[in-house]
C-alpha cells in the first residue's frame, strides 16, 4: 500500500497527460519502465514523482530507449506485476517490435499512447500515424476524445486487459497536445472507488512462481505458430463482450457510459462523418449547428474501440445514411486512408451500401475547425442529393495550395 494519500477534489482541471498519470497512480501500477518523449513525457514523469513521494508502492525503471522500455515491461508483466508505460511517435515506432512480443505472450500491459506524427519532417504534434502503426500488433486499442476520457479509459484498460478471459495488452490513445496539453474539467473517482473498480492484479503463469516454472516467448515454427496466432486473434475478437461489460461497470460507478462505437445524432441522420480522437467532438458541434442552421441531417460516428475493430457495430451505425465521409488523420502512404478502407469494407456488406468518401486531414497537428467539419458534411449532403459521389473519392482537407484529390466514381 502507498505511504502517502494524494489529495483530490471532485472537480479538477487537468490536461490529458495529468489525467492519465492519475489513473496510473490510482491503479497502483507495480512497474513502469519508460523512456520520455514529447508529448507523453509528463505521464511517466508524474508516475516517477508519485513513486518517489510515496503515493505509489511501485517501481520506476529507467531504460535507454523505448525498445528497452517495452522489453522491461514485458519482463515485469511476465513476472506477475501490474505494468504500464507511455510513449508517442518515434518512441512508439521503436517499441513496435516488442509490442508484438507483448501481445503474443498475452501480457496485459497498459500503454498510454499520446498520438503524434511520425517523422520525417520532424513534428511533435498530434496526428494518428503512431496509432495506425499499432493496428496489427495484437493489442486492444481504445481512443479518448478528451482528458476525462483519457483518465476513464486508462482505468478501464487495466480491467479489460487483466481479465483472465482476455489477457491482452491494451493501448489507450489520446491526441497529442490537443488532449495531452489541454486542461479541461475532469471529474475523478476517489482512490477507493477507482482501485476497487480496477481490482487487485491476479497473475497467470507468473515467472516468479518458482513452484511452477513456465516459459514465455518460446519458438514455434510451422508446426504451431499459425495456431498460436489464430488463438491470439480469437482472444482479441472475444474481448468485445468483456469490453462492453467493463464499460457497463464503469458507468455504474461514474455515470459516464462508453461504447465501442459512439453515435451522435444518428437516429435520423442522412449524412455522417466518421472519425477518431478529438475530431469527433468538434464534428459533433458542427453537426448540431448544421441541423439548426442549414437543415442538414448530420450525425457523427466515432470509433472508441479501434481494435478489435467493431465491424458489425460500424455497419449498424451507418447502414441507413446516404453518404459518409470517413476521416483519416494519418498520411495514407499511397493508398486510400486505412480507416476509410475498414469502414468501407463494413458498409459493403449492407444492403443499401451508402456512398463513402475519404478525407485526409490534420496531419502534424494542422487545426481541424468546426467549419472544416461542416464542409465535409455539406459535401456529403451534395452526394446524397445527387445519388453519387460528386467529389474526388479521396480528398485532402485543410491543405494549403492547390486542391489535392484522387479517384472518381465509375458511372455507366
Amino acid at each position: 500500500m502507498p505511504k502517502e494519500i494524494f489529495e483530490l477534489q471532485d472537480r479538477e482541471v487537468w490536461d490529458g497527460n495529468y489525467a492519465a498519470s492519475q489513473a496510473m497512480r490510482q491503479a497502483q501500477v507495480d512497474v513502469m519502465a519508460a523512456y520520455p518523449i514529447t508529448p507523453s513525457t509528463p505521464i511517466v514523469e508524474n508516475y516517477g514523482n508519485y513513486v518517489a513521494n510515496g503515493y505509489i508502492d511501485g517501481e520506476f525503471v529507467m531504460v535507454e530507449s523505448e525498445h528497452a522500455a517495452m522489453s522491461a515491461c514485458v519482463g515485469a508483466s511476465a513476472s506477475g506485476g501490474r505494468v504500464a508505460t507511455a510513449t508517442s511517435s518515434q518512441g512508439f515506432a521503436l517499441m513496435a517490435e516488442v509490442l508484438y512480443q507483448a501481445s503474443g505472450m498475452r501480457l496485459p500491459i497498459v500503454l498510454n499512447v499520446v498520438n503524434r506524427a511520425l517523422a520525417s519532417p520532424l513534428n511533435v504534434r498530434g496526428d494518428h500515424a503512431d496509432m495506425y502503426l499499432g493496428r496489427d500488433s495484437g493489442w486492444i486499442q481504445l481512443g479518448a476524445f478528451n482528458a476525462q476520457e483519457a483518465y476513464d479509459l486508462a482505468l478501464c484498460a487495466f480491467k479489460i486487459g487483466e481479465d483472465h478471459s482476455v489477457r491482452l495488452p491494451v493501448m489507450v490513445h489520446q491526441d497529442g497536445f490537443i488532449t495531452s496539453h489541454t486542461a479541461q474539467n475532469v471529474y475523478p473517482l476517489s482512490d477507493e472507488e477507482a482501485y476497487k473498480f480496477v481490482g487487485d492484479f491476479k497473475p497467470v503463469d507468473d515467472m516468479l512462481d518458482f513452484s511452477r516454472p513456465v516459459t514465455y516467448g518460446a519458438q514455434t515454427e510451422e508446426d504451431w505458430h499459425f495456431e498460436h496466432k489464430a488463438k491470439q486473434h480469437k482472444a482479441l475478437m472475444d474481448s468485445r463482450p468483456v469490453i462492453d461489460k467493463v464499460f457497463e461497470e464503469f458507468e455504474k460507478i461514474s455515470g459516464r457510459k462508453y461504447n465501442r462505437v459512439e453515435s451522435y445524432m444518428m437516429e435520423d441522420a442522412e449524412v455522417a462523418l466518421v472519425g477518431l480522437g478529438t475530431t469527433v467532438e468538434t464534428a459533433r458541434v458542427a453537426a448540431k449547428q448544421l441541423r439548426d442552421e442549414e437543415g442538414i441531417k448530420a450525425g457523427v460516428v466515432a470509433i472508441r474501440n479501434f481494435r478489435p475493430f467493431p465491424f458489425d457495430l460500424v455497419r449498424d451505425a451507418l447502414e441507413n445514411v446516404k453518404s459518409v465521409g470517413v476521416t483519416d488523420r494519418s498520411s495514407p502512404g499511397g493508398a486510400m486512408g486505412f480507416f476509410f478502407n475498414e469502414v468501407s469494407a463494413a458498409l459493403y456488406t449492407t444492403p443499401k451500401r451508402p456512398l463513402v468518401t475519404n478525407y485526409i486531414y490534420g496531419l502534424g497537428g494542422r487545426d481541424f475547425s468546426i467549419e472544416d467539419a461542416k464542409n465535409i458534411f455539406r459535401e456529403q449532403k451534395a452526394n446524397a442529393d445527387a445519388g453519387y459521389i460528386t467529389t474526388d473519392i479521396q480528398q485532402f482537407s485543410g491543405l494549403r495550395g492547390p486542391k489535392l484529390g484522387f479517384f472518381q466514381t465509375k458511372r455507366s
Binding site: I178, T182, Q184, E281, D367
Partner: protein
C-alpha cells in the same frame, strides 16, 4: 461561450496564467479549456495560449476562435504580432504597456476605432515591483477580473491561493499583491 486568446512569449507564464484562470473558473461550476500553441518552445519565442469558458461541456477542440478577450502580456508583441486576428465587433483588448492608452493606439493602427474596447495596464512593472521579476501573467489575471467582471476580486484571490498552494507563502503573497494592483490600475 467566452473565448480568450493570450499573446505572450515563452517564459512569461501565459500557459500557467491560462491554466490558473481555468482552475478558478472551474470552481464556479463552469466548464473550461486551457491550451497553448507554441512552436519549438524556446524562451522568448512568441506563443499564444487560449481559454474557453462555458456553462456546458466544451466539445470544440479547434485552435481557431473568434476571441471575446485578447490578453497581451508582452509589450512588444502588441506591435509585432497580429493581435486583432479574427476579432469581433465586441472583442476587448487588455494590453501590457508602459504607454498611455492614447500613445499605444497611435502606434497600432489595427486598434484605431476600437478605443472603447482597449484597456492598458503595465503588468511588467507591477510584477517587477511585487514578484521581483518579470512575470506578467498574474497581474494580467487581475486586470482581466476587473475588465470582464467575471468574479469579485476577493473570490478570485481566495481561489488563486489554492491554485498556488505548492509555492512558498512569500510568493503567494506577492502574486496576490500583483493581481490586486493590476485590478486597480487597469484602465
Amino acid at each position: 461561450m467566452t473565448e480568450i486568446r493570450w499573446h505572450s512569449r515563452a517564459g512569461q507564464g501565459a500557459v500557467s496564467g491560462a491554466k490558473g484562470l481555468g482552475d478558478v473558473v472551474a470552481t464556479t461550476g463552469k466548464e473550461v479549456q486551457a491550451f497553448a500553441l507554441y512552436g519549438s518552445a524556446k524562451r522568448g519565442a512568441a506563443l499564444r495560449a487560449y481559454n474557453r469558458i462555458a456553462d456546458e461541456q466544451i466539445f470544440n477542440h479547434a485552435k481557431f476562435m473568434y476571441p471575446d478577450y485578447v490578453l497581451v502580456i508582452d509589450p512588444a508583441l502588441a506591435m509585432t504580432d497580429d493581435i486583432t486576428m479574427n476579432d469581433k465587433e465586441t472583442t476587448k483588448y487588455i494590453i501590457t504597456t508602459h504607454l498611455s492608452k492614447e500613445e499605444l493606439i497611435k502606434e497600432i493602427p489595427a486598434l484605431q476605432g476600437k478605443e472603447d474596447r482597449v484597456y492598458v495596464v503595465d503588468c511588467i512593472q507591477i510584477s517587477l515591483d511585487t514578484i521581483k521579476r518579470s512575470m506578467p501573467n498574474s497581474p494580467m489575471l487581475g486586470a482581466f477580473v476587473k475588465v470582464s467582471g467575471m468574479f469579485e476580486l476577493d473570490y478570485f484571490l481566495e481561489n488563486m491561493k489554492r491554485v498556488l498552494k505548492k509555492f512558498p507563502q512569500k510568493i503567494i503573497d506577492a502574486n496576490m499583491e500583483a493581481i490586486t494592483r493590476a485590478y486597480n490600475e487597469v484602465k
